[in-house]
């Protein structure tokens, strides 16, 4: 062990692997968590490499594999990859848009042992949903897909990303989840990284709407107890404490990009000067323990005040590094979503301001575009405003 990783002897094993199999996707959601610079098909890992990565993951202690993207069913080998998960005892979770070729591959995925399906829904009203997702005729495809999932007896989770364009539909999402036979619903307020950061002004809801959505979810949880589990992700900008990003940096999760770059979280590439390792050069175990990107913000040694002396430091692990960089201009700063951050009031003011303005048009996610965020001014005092 070297000096940079003093905690390696007691390093906990990762529990989850987010496998971003491809960045290709029929949808163009303006809050997509993929990076602005999307990987092209030609650079994607091949089947055998993914199978090796999965084998290494299982050996390392990973329990859950999230087959994601982009749209994971856009890959021709999605069935083989899922089957490898099953053979290794890994719990496979398909995170899908349910459109395109997803339905056609579903039965085969079921047959090889897929464990769970998480289906995204952009809106309840079809026209609204299709405007957000940027794809016509998506809604009926999603419903047909959901119906087949429950018919097969696979557990279904609906994932709804909430923003000002659909926050009025929160009740509708709950009804839809019940109607489609989902066991879980994620009411996830947008996290403003990646494409969502670019589109923040178009997406940011106001505080009253956010509060209302939380009340609706809390009432529905009670009413639907034992029938539907509702997970609520509240929006950072209005929160009191930040979220432990990915359960803490380098503590639970590994994210492998379509090209095989291994990240501690899906937005980590936004942090400059971090050195990421590739599965083509290193084993997953080596990357987990030693890659500079994973060791950079693991644990608490890197923390500044107010995190360093905070008694919540091992609860939320300082919040999100990417958000700290984006808003405070320093990836090692306290996440400004935290009420203890000196920048927190500004963050909230910014959200209030943006939510009050007429929303600009969406900047849709596309491969090969050269998008620059139009709201990326850090709030740090020294940063030029």
């Amino acid at each position: 062990m070297n000096a940079i990783t003093p905690n390696v002897p007691t390093l906990p094993a990762p529990v989850g692997l987010l496998a971003e199999l491809t960045h290709r996707c029929p949808l163009r959601c303006p809050y997509c968590s993929n990076p602005l610079e999307l990987d092209r098909r030609s650079g994607e890992l091949d089947t055998a490499t993914w199978q090796r990565v999965l084998t290494e993951a299982a050996g390392l202690g990973v329990l859950h594999v999230h087959l994601s993207g982009g749209e994971p069913t856009a890959r021709n080998d999605i069935v083989e990859i899922t089957q490898t998960c099953a053979k290794l005892g890994l719990y496979s979770n398909l995170i899908t848009s349910g459109v395109g070729g997803a339905l056609a591959k579903l039965d085969a995925l079921y047959d090889v042992g897929l464990d769970h399906v998480q289906l995204s829904v952009q809106g309840v009203d079809a026209a609204n949903a299709e405007k957000i997702g940027g794809l016509k005729n998506a809604q009926p495809q999603k419903f047909a897909f959901a119906e087949r999932v429950t018919h097969l007896g696979l557990p279904l989770t609906l994932n709804s990303v909430i923003h000002r364009g659909n926050i009025h539909e929160v009740e509708g999402f709950i009804d839809l989840a019940v109607k489609l036979g989902a066991k879980r619903l994620e009411v996830a307020h947008t996290q403003y990284y990646g494409w969502a950061y670019v589109n923040r002004a178009a997406l940011m809801p106001n505080k009253a709407e956010v509060d209302r959505s939380i009340r609706i979810v809390e009432a529905a949880r009670e009413r639907l107890k034992g029938q539907l589990v509702i997970d609520l992700v509240v929006p950072d900008y209005y929160a009191k404490y930040p979220k432990a990003c990915a359960g803490g940096w380098g503590r639970k999760l590994m994210n492998v990009t379509p090209q095989g770059k291994v990240l501690p979280c899906h937005a980590a590439e936004t942090i400059p000067n971090l050195e990421f390792w590739y599965v083509s050069d290193h084993s997953l175990g080596d990357i987990w323990a030693h890659s500079p990107a994973f060791t950079a913000y693991r644990g608490t040694d890197w923390m500044q005040e107010p995190c360093r002396s905070c008694d919540r430091r091992e609860k939320d692990w300082g919040g999100c590094r990417c958000q700290a960089l984006a808003l405070a201009g320093d990836a090692a700063a306290t996440d400004p979503a935290c009420s203890l951050s000196p920048l927190h009031a500004k963050v909230r003011d910014l959200a209030v301001e943006e939510a009050a303005e007429t929303p600009p048009d969406y900047v849709y996610r596309t491969i090969g575009s050269n998008v620059q965020p139009n709201v990326r001014t850090p709030l740090n005092e020294e940063a030029p405003l």
């Binding site: 464990d115 769970h116 029938q227 997970d231």
Partner: protein
């Protein structure tokens, strides 16, 4: 095409049959007259009925189920021998259960709920066909008025029921997408209860039907019972298949149902009780995590770390054993009071059910 009522020749009717011959004669009655042969049952098991026709069957048959303990109590009341009563009273326990939420009637209500009925509506029996009521009531009267031998012999249709139940469960699961294994839980129990009951009854009849006249009575009683069952299906066929003549006041499609949302809730959710059979649905797996050397329950988007007690319980959750069965097994394993274990594991299982990772 209907076979004439079989009338043996006079000398044949007067001959005393050996116990084995008597059993064969009784089985022959079932082979020719039991209601698995009825066209309505053929339609039911082959998936040829629509959802409303299946509902009509479930609704009417409830009255039969509900009156079985009344019938058995009448039989019991005529038994002067305590050892007989001890055996017979088990039938009442099977149907009524030991507590609310338990027993065969309850499981039939679950079946009726599973196909969409409101429980209150089914229990009220207001929608059943008059012919159902008449047939079932005739059965109750029969066991009160005839000899104890005839009363017991009339129960012998149970000799034939395991076949029909296997056919029914397999056929209905295969053919109706609105029928689930949970819905048909009633029949799981009857597969073991019916043969046990029938073994006792046939032994009794063989021992006590000691003259040609008594043997004739036993055969007639069983024929009567077959007709009780057959007549109910005639009435269902007439009202809901062809010519489709539904009598005034009988159930019409659409009545007595609960809204769709409540149905999905009835299927597998809600409070787990001691007699429920818990199972881990697809997408929930118990696994040993070799890296951390511990057992985990893998579920959608979450992992439950399990202690040794939880593992001991979940290893016994197999979709076959009831909570009580599991508590009994654990009581033996750990030499502990099963009642205490049962209370503990109900808390745990209900918690998992609320999180939608356990079904019943």
């Amino acid at each position: 095409m209907t076979a004439p009522f079989p009338t043996p020749k006079t000398d044949e009717a007067q001959r005393l049959l050996s116990p084995e011959e008597l059993e064969a004669a009784l089985r022959d009655i079932g082979a020719r007259r039991y209601h698995n042969l009825h066209p309505f049952h053929r339609l039911l098991h082959d998936g040829k009925l629509n959802k409303d026709q299946v509902r009509a069957w479930a609704l009417n048959r409830y009255y039969y189920q509900a009156m079985i303990p009344v019938k058995d109590a009448a039989v019991l009341a005529r038994m002067t021998d305590a050892s007989l009563r001890r055996v017979w009273r088990q039938r009442i326990v099977d149907h009524d259960g030991d507590a609310p939420g338990d027993g065969g009637i309850e499981r039939w209500l679950k079946l009726a709920e599973g196909v969409g009925f409101a429980r209150d509506y089914v229990e009220s029996t207001q929608g059943i066909l008059s012919a159902t009521r008449f047939s079932v009531d005739a059965y109750v009267h029969f066991v009160k008025e005839r000899s104890l031998l005839e009363a017991i012999a009339s129960s012998l249709t149970e000799m034939f029921s395991p076949t029909i139940i296997s056919e029914r469960v397999a056929g209905m699961l295969k053919n109706y997408d609105f029928i689930t294994k949970d819905t048909l839980a009633y029949f799981d129990k009857r597969l073991t209860q019916a043969p046990r009951d029938a073994d006792f009854a046939i032994a009794y009849v063989k021992e006590h039907a000691t003259t040609p006249a008594l043997q004739r009575q036993a055969m007639d009683a069983l024929t009567f019972k077959c007709n009780v069952l057959w007549t109910q299906l005639d009435a269902l066929y007439f009202a809901y298949v062809a010519p489709g003549m539904i009598p005034p006041d009988a159930w019409t499609p659409g009545a007595g149902l609960v809204p769709e949302r409540a149905i999905s809730q009835a299927a597998g959710t809600g409070t787990v009780t001691a007699h429920d059979v818990p199972r881990l649905p697809r997408g929930v797996r118990l696994r040993h995590d070799a890296v951390r050397d511990q057992y985990v329950l893998l579920a959608p988007e979450r992992t439950f770390d399990l202690d040794a007690n939880a593992v001991a319980v979940l290893e016994l959750v197999d979709g076959q054993r009831s909570v009580r069965d599991i508590a009994t097994l654990l009581g033996e394993k750990f030499t502990a009071d099963p009642a205490v274990i049962e209370a503990d594991i109900l808390v745990m299982l209900n918690d998992l059910a609320t999180k939608r990772v356990l079904e019943r």
